[in-house]
């Protein structure tokens, strides 16, 4: 037995090498998007595909500088507005969902109603249901109320879309913190307001951050509602991207890749920071470990 033994649960550099290869193969489609973002239009469409090329920032420039260069009609696609829309709509709706949802989660966790579990089940179901079912009435509602194409409409809708997720996530965090401290504070005569704001909320700060981030990612990437319910001025990036592809002739893949790369960087960054909460995030808070 000459082979060097290892402690259980640990692997060495050999595993690093192997995993690096596999991970990069897995990551390759994303890598290719990033590479494409740095390619000229000709390079992006070249045959055979170019692995080595002179990188250019022109795609990124045309994403950002578009508003200032009025000359080229072909580049005038308003993506700066769409980026703003995506950020604004996602941010506002997640904010609304977080405020309402955290309070509700606290209620479900600490002051259970009769039929608490049933409420929670229905709430989760509204998140699981195929959006296509509610979209027709919502479409009609929006048209009748004039909310169609407005910020307030889509923000409210996304807030509702984020609520079930927020409630389940935050409830799972509230469930985890011990109640002794609250009871002790109650004995000391603290008001319920004070208990919620001073004792409970600080303990779920990390949970709020995680919920916000996952909410942002989910909202950020949503397509169907945005496709049907946003107007020219409130269009979000995913819809605008899809429409860029829709016009089959001369899809500017480099530009598209640049947009997606910009779109992706913050997501990857926060995902890395939240790696430990990821499981809970992707299962809507139903699975913690």
């Amino acid at each position: 037995m000459a082979r060097r033994r290892r402690e259980i649960g640990k692997a060495g550099w050999g595993r690093t090498a192997f995993s690096t290869v596999i991970s990069f193969i897995y990551f390759f489609p994303v890598l290719w998007i990033i590479l494409t973002a740095f390619k000229t239009h000709t390079d992006a469409l070249s045959t055979p595909p170019k692995f080595i090329f002179t990188p250019t920032l022109e795609n990124f420039v045309s994403v950002f500088a578009r508003a200032y260069e009025r000359g080229g009609a072909a580049v005038d696609t308003h993506f700066d507005l769409f980026f703003f829309n995506s950020i604004f709509i996602a941010g506002a709706s997640v904010g609304v969902a977080l405020v309402i949802g955290t309070i509700a989660a606290y209620g479900f966790s600490r002051w259970p109603l009769r039929g608490n579990e049933t409420y929670l089940f229905i709430i989760l179901t509204t998140r699981m249901l195929p959006p296509i079912i509610v979209i027709i009435p919502i479409f009609i509602m929006f048209r009748l109320s004039g909310l169609s194409g407005s910020y307030i409409g889509i923000i409210l809708l996304y807030a509702a879309f984020n609520l079930p997720f927020t409630i389940w996530m935050m409830k799972s965090f509230f469930d985890e913190i011990p109640r002794e401290v609250e009871d002790a504070a109650r004995m000391d005569g603290s008001s319920e307001m004070k208990i919620f704001f001073r004792i409970c909320l600080p303990q779920v700060k990390a949970g709020i951050a995680a919920t916000a981030v996952f909410g942002l990612i989910l909202t950020w990437n949503e397509f169907l509602f945005a496709l049907l319910l946003t107007g020219r001025d409130t269009r979000t990036v995913p819809v605008a991207m899809a429409q860029t592809i829709g016009g089959d002739i001369g899809v500017r893949w480099g530009l598209l890749a640049a947009i997606e790369t910009l779109f992706l960087i913050p997501v990857v960054f926060v995902t890395f920071l939240l790696q430990n909460q990821l499981l809970r995030g992707v299962t809507f808070g139903t699975i913690k470990r």
């Binding site: 990069f24 195929p130 409630i167 779109f263």
Partner: protein, 305 residues
């Protein structure tokens, strides 16, 4: 209840708040959900009993279960269900296999694990639109990576999305790529929940890899695997964006999933009430699956205690 002693004094209003804390806390959230989700759902339910087209001004006509009857006897609908079933089955199975293998890769700690894990998790964080768009780019017959790769071997460009099987494979491949990391996360959670001393005991007891896996590891991931299957089934059942962007249901209608079909019925054929009826059938399936999912989530929570 812990707060009951607060309820003993104070003004009438204070007492009301103290007695109804739970309902008051959840009321705003429920209100939003009722307006934006439950009400549309009920509306949809109502619509499914009428003959109604959203693009006509004609008054809706009450037709009882005619829409359901129409939908359930429509061979096209069954075809779409079949397509969906094929995609869901193959998709979820492959996600399990790939996710499981990825989890084994990342089971142990090694230098650089966190960063590499991030690379593998990225697809899950992409937007459907990006995945759809770029896989379409990769499958493109002239300059797409896939076609180019095959051309380098066979000399012929390859049109993946031209055939039924190819189009299905293309969609499934993209979805498996995107969501296997999800399964990986769950399996990893199961793997790290195995107490380390069990592996140590198995090592001292000289258990083979195979026996160790089945007697120690598997019981810890069994529950999570089941949850992964259900969760991914629910999600795959609703598969819309990727299909819509990669194949638009084609060639012909060979990759048109039930979700895409409902979209077409509603927004292209404008058979509003029929799409509502169909939607309710989908909802029923999702409710059953969600119920099952939560049942196993709770059972797992109970087992943990």
């Amino acid at each position: 209840m812990a707060a009951s002693y607060h309820a003993e004094h104070g003004t009438l209003l204070e007492r009301f708040f103290a007695r109804n804390r739970g309902p008051i806390l959840v009321a705003p959230a429920l209100a939003v959900l009722v307006i934006m989700n439950i009400f549309p759902l009920l509306w949809s339910f109502g619509l499914s009993f009428y003959r109604y087209r959203a693009n006509r001004i004609k008054e809706p006509e009450f037709v009882w279960f005619k829409n359901y009857q129409k939908v359930l006897t429509d061979p096209v609908v069954w075809e779409r269900f079949q397509t969906t079933a094929i995609i869901v089955t193959v998709d979820v199975l492959l996600q399990l296999v790939v996710g499981f293998l990825l989890a084994l890769l990342f089971e142990k700690t090694f230098p650089g694990r966190r960063v590499l894990l991030m690379l593998v998790l990225t697809p899950m964080m992409l937007s459907f639109v990006a995945v759809g768009a770029f896989f379409r780019y990769y499958y493109e017959p002239t300059f797409g990576l896939l076609s180019q790769g095959i051309k380098a071997i066979t000399g012929e460009p390859f049109i993946l999305l031209g055939s039924e099987v190819g189009a299905l494979a293309g969609i499934i491949f993209a979805d498996v790529w995107m969501w296997s990391p999800f399964v990986m996360l769950l399996v990893l959670a199961g793997l790290v929940s195995v107490p380390k001393h069990l592996y140590e005991a198995a090592e001292i007891d000289r258990a083979s890899w195979w026996r160790r896996f089945w007697t120690i590891t598997f019981p810890y991931i069994r529950g999570l695997l089941l949850l992964a299957i259900l969760f991914r089934t629910i999600e795959a059942f609703k598969l819309f964006d990727i299909v819509f962007l990669i194949t638009e249901g084609g060639p012909g209608t060979s990759t048109e999933t039930i979700a895409v079909y409902v979209y077409r019925v509603a927004f292209q054929y404008f058979k509003t009430s029929q799409s509502a009826a169909l939607g309710y059938i989908l909802l029923f399936v999702v409710i059953v699956l969600t119920n099952l999912y939560l049942f196993f989530v709770r059972r797992r929570d109970v087992e943990d205690q």
